[in-house]
Symmetry: C3
Subunit: 139 residues, 3 copies
């Protein structure tokens, strides 16, 4: 069994954003030399997500509005978590909807994807350096 | 390490449905000959889910009502994504709640499940052929 | 390839609670002797979750309030599932938001975590003995 590990670093200036990280994931797979196995990609921070969906800007704005409706950023006093001095209580909730991680099949040296599947980093509390972990195991 | 791959195909006539795919997953595991490892099962389409819960029709109607409340199908003009000519904006949101994939432990040649765990395909934008990927790695 | 399996048992007296199970997961990893691979941790029951987030009591109360808003426990007649004699319809919905499972990278014999990542068991229908499965594969 082979294994491969890499960290992807982000520094998103705005509070929230979605970034297509499929090319980075494909580069990792190539570097790994693994042809058959599983790739785990997870946010290493608890106010961010990794998820798979469509690379369509209208959809991303729909996600933004929808998540803001389900877990509004303001008033920040709404969240007990923010009594610790944080203002990111909403980000911890939004990340649960969008998920921490995806696991992707690796087949014949490629990410085994349907036609529109793309991997995104979802930032809900930006303005600082944060990481995503790529771990691949297989042969 | 062994690996196994299969696509399961669906063509759900209605827009939304939940289909128990546990028997297909068990058949895949048997075909694979893998006794110890992990099974990934994921929707290959971004308006569908694979999830684990109870095979109880009342619960499935509860899910349907609840998801429709959280991300209504209509008015379709509600979603920017639908300006691309689609009418499935809601389906991309519903799928995030229910999830893209499950990973199931394989132990002694069986899906290592609790008493009520069953695997479902969740369709949120039916009326066409769509796929689920089953990937198993192990020994 | 090595594999390891263990069940963690819980009997939460109250209906809902979040329990930090990171120490148990670390103990499992140590017992497994696996240095490189993947750890799957999943609820074996369909009214409970395993998820990764912050070990901060204010945040846990925010989750509790938020989930209760998205899928209220009462009136229990609200859910068709409860016509089967259950009163846990809400728990099946809450668990979909928080997730069934997490997959964690294992690197150099350790859970490969960001600074604040901790694993939690989320109970949404307590008062009885329930289980979490830990499965590790790797080398």
């Amino acid at each position: 069994m082979k294994s491969y590990r890499k960290e992807l670093w982000f520094n998103i200036p705005q509070r929230r954003a979605f970034v297509n990280i499929t090319p980075e994931a494909e580069r990792c797979l190539e570097e790994s030399g693994i042809a058959e196995g599983l790739m785990l990609i997870n946010a290493m921070h608890i106010t961010a997500s990794v998820f798979i969906n469509d690379d369509e800007p209208g959809l991303h704005r729909d996600y933004e509005d929808w998540l803001e409706g389900l877990a509004p950023h303001e008033p920040v006093s709404r969240y007990r978590h923010n009594r610790t001095g944080e203002d990111n209580g909403d980000a911890h909730l939004k990340r649960q909807i969008m998920g921490r991680e995806v696991v992707v099949a690796v087949t014949e040296g490629r990410l085994d994807f349907g036609p529109w599947e793309r991997i995104f980093y979802g930032e809900f509390d930006g303005g600082r350096r944060k990481r995503v972990l790529v771990k691949i195991i297989g042969e």
